[in-house]
Amino acid sequence: MAAFGTAAGRPLQGRGGSPGFRFTLYAVLSVVIMYLDQRAHYLERVRYVLQASAYPIQLAVNSPPSAWRWLRESFQSREALRAENARLRQRQRDLELLSMRYDALAHENGELRGLREALPPVADRWLAAEIISIQQSSLRQRLLIDRGATNGVFKGQAVLDDRGLIGQTTHVGPWSAEVILITDPEHAVPVRVERTGLRTIAVGGGDASSLALPYLPANADVRNGDLLVTSGLGGVFPEGYPVARVSEVHRDAIQPLAQVRATALSHIDSETEVMLVWFREGHPAAPATGARSAADVKSGNAAMQPLPAPPRPAASRPESAPEHAATPEHAATPAPGTTSQPRTAAPAPRRAAPTAAPAAGAAPEPAPATAPASTSASAPPGEPAAPAAGAASPEAPPAVPPRSRREP
């Protein structure tokens, strides 16, 4: 082991500057970078470029597993393939049977909602993406997928698989994007208990498949096996997509809140493909906010800025919008849903509240009645989706990016 020191005494000309000087330089530089990235989000472009340059490394890192997969697939026996084919055929038949009544039901639903025709599905377009790498430690649950800005992926886009919600994109590079999973401890998704309509927030549990529902009062009506679906609040996920199933309800007499855990329905472990979904703007089940653009989501501390007053809901509610997915149709049981709005949704009331104060430089147009609901300064006033979103916005919290981004 004495061989470590072989480089000793080799003449190397330094680049100038003592180590102390250079260290100070780099330390100051990294602190400035951290500040800009954390507080001001000035570094989106830099991140974009860096993510692009990191892409080859990520591909290289992923090549052994994908080569192994490819090998295994190409040496699969004929029988195995036939069996798989038969299984898929069976599954397709089952799904067709299930969806046979779908059109009729959609039409009936539209009639019940007072629409003249059935609504189009909320998912507008979707795109399959391959998982490049999975990071599943107890601290960070992230995926890297092989679609990026060149495919139209944007920050805060919903990612699904065939069983349920997986997560949302956090950093988008040109050819790749990072997805934060719903099980990441920094992620929270607004959900609704499908059986009762009770709304709450599911926070990632930090392991491969568990979520926690930490904001339910002890007397909340939750049972083992309840299905949790997205509630449509939060502005990222549309309403009604399955998220998790309650797996454990623990009520303690001295605790004001119930300890509820749920198991995510998506199965990232066995999956190599995920779906990126674009949702129809203005659809009743679409994410209930105008703040959908990437520029809006990343505008850090929006809750701290004065906002233009949104239009009164009664004035601008389009008559075609029925019982909106985001309106509290379960107003009879609002206590858990509203009082237990936790950290993520905390900025919501402030952000969407009809503040009388005019925005500082954000609302150039004089008529407050037409003030756009998209409250960010970057959104052009009077964009087409504004009225519909405005109707929803008083109840709707803004997008739920990873929690930490909100917290100063």
């Binding site: 020191g5 180590p19 970078i33 951290m34 990235d37 954390q38 993510q51 890192v61 430690s137 601290l139």
Partner: protein
Amino acid sequence: MTATQVRLRMALTALFALVLTVLPLPVWLDVLRPAFLVLTVLYWSINAPRAGGIGLGFTCGVMLDVFQGPVLGEHALALAIVAYIAVREHQRIRSKPAFQQSLLVLAALIVYEFVLFAIDGWTGHPVTTPLRWLHCLTGALVWPPVAAMLSYSEGRLA
């Protein structure tokens, strides 16, 4: 060996270490994975102190931040600090036998992890599980072979 050659070698080994660091592993193995990038930066800071170990640490740290940092600059700062300590004390560290070097590396890794821990806390991603400190031990354990491998590559390419 010129400074450019050394720098090239530094960049190549650091790239390799980066790949080892971001390679997907099962969770239980992930906790034990040594911080190869820190070990590489330490090696070059000790054995080629004037070739820019601090700059190497900073650059590697930024790359690592892109892969797994909650905030850009976190690993960059931690690696720059570790590299600076190593550059300052390179003569003392270099003259030690392997076992004592491992102990010093353990100390450096703990400093590194502590910086990360502090920044995690300040930026609102507190991670308090004791498992996060485990890789310091494995890093110190694999230091002798890693250093031997790096010095072998150095000697062979020279």
